[in-house]
């Protein structure tokens, strides 16, 4: 007797009249050379998601964790209960900030290819996630980002030349060249130091929010991780603490569907949504069209108001798509269908907002083309200025002895000793 589903599993336990057990190993819908297929993806109508009161109990809004909060429809018309009805100047600011982020990414990606730095990560297609959220938060709320939220710094008008100095690890890098490119830290911009270890920022954001609440402050915290790293223990530690103490925090999951080459199925995405993680913790959960900057703005604003009203944390899944590779060290054509990004049904966040603004009569193609040109020149000029401070590996870095600074507040004897030894060795070598 043969079992058509038996793929060579070891036969055993003779005499037991039971089918052999099988291990399910997830497989994405399409691999290279295959056609991408998003027909299984049902996009709900813009007015399908109700907008509950900010103080509503999590149990009354479970469906929102499985649906999709949307504002802009396929024609770029804003509607539904979540429409934030933003004034034209805010819409145009969003558009410009997203376009600047894309221009910045393009320039820095090229700089890496030119050998000016070791590494870069683009946020192409995901700009709305950072920028919609940053504009909905207060400027003094603390952000605990992951590595693809450069849009937050740009939305908070942080100088892009400072970001470039960090990417080049040059003598102008305020972080003294100690961090991988893109792992910014900007306390004044409410932007917490990025860690390369995934999702460690999640419990830290909850701790910051708990501290703010314990001190009777009014500021809240927000944090971001990818859908892949919701599998990390820190994600679940953070959800437990956030729920237990009703911390004023927004927990964002950027579901861009790919964790390097592992599709979201390996983080449990086949079984349920990532927003639904909130349900088990008794946290409000929203699943949002992450390519609709107005939906991201509206959801974040709702969650921020909820946190400020002491109604507790919110977990927001931003459903989006990683258009580019994971980083400059990645080649996505090796593991996914080449057509996937062009067939992704929720479109491009910049194109969608542009269409909306044009339909409103506050924008046109000519102005958009002129803006793109101006932004490209702006980042080119900033990059040239940053390069005057040095590029990676070309000598214009922080002084050698700075290697030993900031390990402790005061340098202990053993570090002073090692510092002196290093300097003596270089001197002896005639360098």
């Amino acid at each position: 007797m043969t079992d058509p589903d038996d793929h060579g599993a070891v036969q055993g336990h003779e005499g037991r009249n039971l089918p052999p057990l099988r291990l399910h190993v997830p497989e994405p819908p399409a691999r290279p050379g295959e056609s991408a297929d998003f027909t299984h993806f049902d996009i709900p109508a813009v007015d399908a998601a109700p907008r509950p009161d900010e103080a509503a109990a999590p149990g009354t809004m479970r469906d929102l964790a499985y649906g999709l909060v949307r504002v802009l429809d396929a024609d770029g018309v804003a509607g539904g209960q979540w429409n934030p009805k933003l004034p034209p100047e805010t819409l145009l600011r969003m558009l410009r900030t997203m376009a600047l982020t894309r221009a910045f990414d393009a320039r820095m990606f090229r700089a890496q290819r030119q050998g000016k730095t070791s590494f870069y990560m683009k946020s192409t297609g995901e700009e709305a996630v950072s920028i919609g959220a940053a504009l909905a938060l207060s400027r003094d709320d603390m952000c605990f980002p992951s590595y693809r939220q450069q849009g937050i710094l740009i939305a908070r008008d942080w100088p892009i030349i400072d970001m470039m100095n960090q990417i080049y690890s040059n003598k102008g890098d305020r972080l003294k060249g100690r961090q991988l490119p893109i792992m910014y830290s900007a306390r004044e911009a409410g932007f917490f130091s990025i860690s390369g270890n995934l999702t460690t920022q999640y419990p830290q954001a909850v701790g910051w929010a708990m501290a703010s609440a314990a001190k009777g402050d009014t500021r809240i915290a927000a944090t971001w991780c990818g859908e892949g790293s919701t599998a990390e223990g820190d994600f679940h530690n953070a959800c437990t603490f956030a729920s237990v103490y009703r911390a004023p925090v927004i927990l964002n999951v950027v579901n861009n569907q790919w964790a390097i080459s592992s599709f979201s199925g390996f983080a449990g995405g086949e079984a349920t949504t990532f927003a639904a993680r909130a349900v088990g913790y008794g946290i409000a959960g929203l699943r949002v069209d992450g390519n609709d900057v107005l939906a991201v703005y509206a959801a974040t604003r709702w969650a921020a108001d909820r946190a400020r009203a002491n109604a507790g944390p919110t977990l927001i899944e931003h459903f989006t798509y990683r258009v580019e590779g994971h980083s400059t060290s990645d080649d996505p054509t090796a593991y996914r269908s080449a057509e996937e990004s062009s067939l992704w049904p929720l479109g491009d966040p910049i194109a969608r907002l542009k269409q909306h603004c044009i339909a409103l009569g506050i924008w046109d193609e000519e102005r958009h083309a002129a803006m793109d040109k101006e932004l490209a020149e702006h980042v080119r000029d900033a990059a040239r200025e940053a390069e005057k401070n040095g590029i990676l590996g070309h000598g214009l870095h922080h002084p050698m002895e700075s290697l030993f600074e900031d390990v402790f507040e005061e340098m202990p004897w053993h570090l002073k000793e090692q510092q002196q030894q290093m300097l003596d060795e270089w001197k002896a070598a005639g360098l």
Binding site: F144, K176, S185, S193, T200, M210, D234, N237, T240, F408
Partner: protein, 334 residues
């Protein structure tokens, strides 16, 4: 005061002085901690400053990093040092490196208290001494007191310090000194000179060793419970030993170590932790680098063995008087 009371008093003093000091951990609030170290603090300072946490060590430390970044001074308790391993990533990759990676923009000024060490029939999961893991990682301080007086003064200094600190409490001597003779009745701190603890504020700077007794015959470097085991063994042998209680491993009082070994020419290192890559290995390396020409005998170490911590054979594992005496005899023979 016994050591528990001294530790409680340190937190009380610091919470009184600084409204940003918060105490958190499993069972530390209403119940006052399984060892009673936080007894009465929640009643006095309220639930916003002393609170129980979910059972997730990694979560406790991760949250404490965020609180420190906000501007608080968290004092998280990890109920047993054996449970600190789930929190290693937050301690080592996050708390210890936050100042360095942000060039001082963000800091994690936390003091992680945790009972550690053996001698209480605690088996594999209530007896370990993981200090060597932390001394190996840059950016974190490791402090281990051996008396009630030191425990209070060092804990106050650690809470005031702007760097993350691991404060390991030798739980075998919480209630009284231990001379390593497991079959004699437990002693009490009552009447002990080092248990005369002031109720108010005082601090003992981190990185300064304590001379337990001055001698000429050999130097013994030790910390925690082992200070008392060593002291009693030396007294029983009638030996004129120089006993140095290190108090903190990072920062280490290298001057005191160097001065003592150069004076005596002989060195024994005693700790409870497993031997391979233990802190004793670093001490041996430092002594041989700095004092090689002053040594009259090879440096010896008495440590726990490289096995998991046993239950019924705890006294075979523990670096007790028998093993210390044999090591001293070996050093003194040359």
């Amino acid at each position: 005061m016994n050591m528990i009371q001294a530790i409680n008093s340190a937190m009380d003093v610091m919470m009184e002085r600084d409204p940003d000091v918060v105490v958190m951990g499993e069972d530390v609030g209403f119940f006052g901690g399984v060892f009673r170290a936080t007894a009465g603090l929640q009643e006095k300072y309220g639930k916003n400053r002393v609170f129980d946490t979910p059972i997730t060590e990694c979560g406790i430390i991760g949250v404490a990093v965020g609180m420190g970044a906000y501007g608080l001074r968290p004092v998280p308790e990890i109920q047993f040092a054996d449970y600190i391993y789930p929190a290693l990533d937050q301690l080592v990759s996050e708390a210890a490196r936050l100042r360095y990676r942000s060039a001082g923009e963000f800091i994690a000024p936390m003091t992680v208290r945790s009972p550690f060490g053996g001698g209480i029939f605690g088996g594999q999961t209530h007896s370990q001494s993981p200090e060597g893991i932390f001394t190996h990682c840059s950016g974190i301080k490791t402090v281990i007191p051996s008396t009630p007086y030191d425990a209070k003064g060092l804990l106050i200094a650690a809470i005031e310090d702007n760097d993350p600190t691991i404060f390991f409490e030798p739980k075998r001597i919480y209630n009284g000194p231990f001379d390593g003779h497991y079959d004699t009745p437990a002693k009490s701190w009552a009447g002990h000179a080092d248990a005369q603890v002031p109720t108010g504020y005082y601090r003992i700077p981190l990185g300064k060793a304590r001379t337990v007794r001055a001698g000429e015959a050999l130097t013994i470097l030790c910390y925690g419970t082992m200070v008392h085991v060593v002291e009693d063994t030396v007294r029983a042998m009638g030996l004129d030993a120089d006993i140095v209680d290190l108090r903190s491993l990072v920062p280490l009082d290298i001057e005191a170590i160097e001065a003592s070994v150069k004076k005596t020419g002989r060195c024994l290192i005693v700790h409870e932790a497993t031997r391979t890559s233990g802190f004793g290995a670093e001490l041996m390396a430092q002594v041989q680098e700095r004092c090689f020409y002053h040594l009259e005998a090879p440096i010896e170490r008495v440590t726990g063995f490289d096995t998991p911590y046993p239950h019924s054979l705890e006294w075979a594992y523990f670096p007790g008087p028998v093993r210390i005496r044999e090591a001293i005899n070996k050093i003194m023979k040359d």
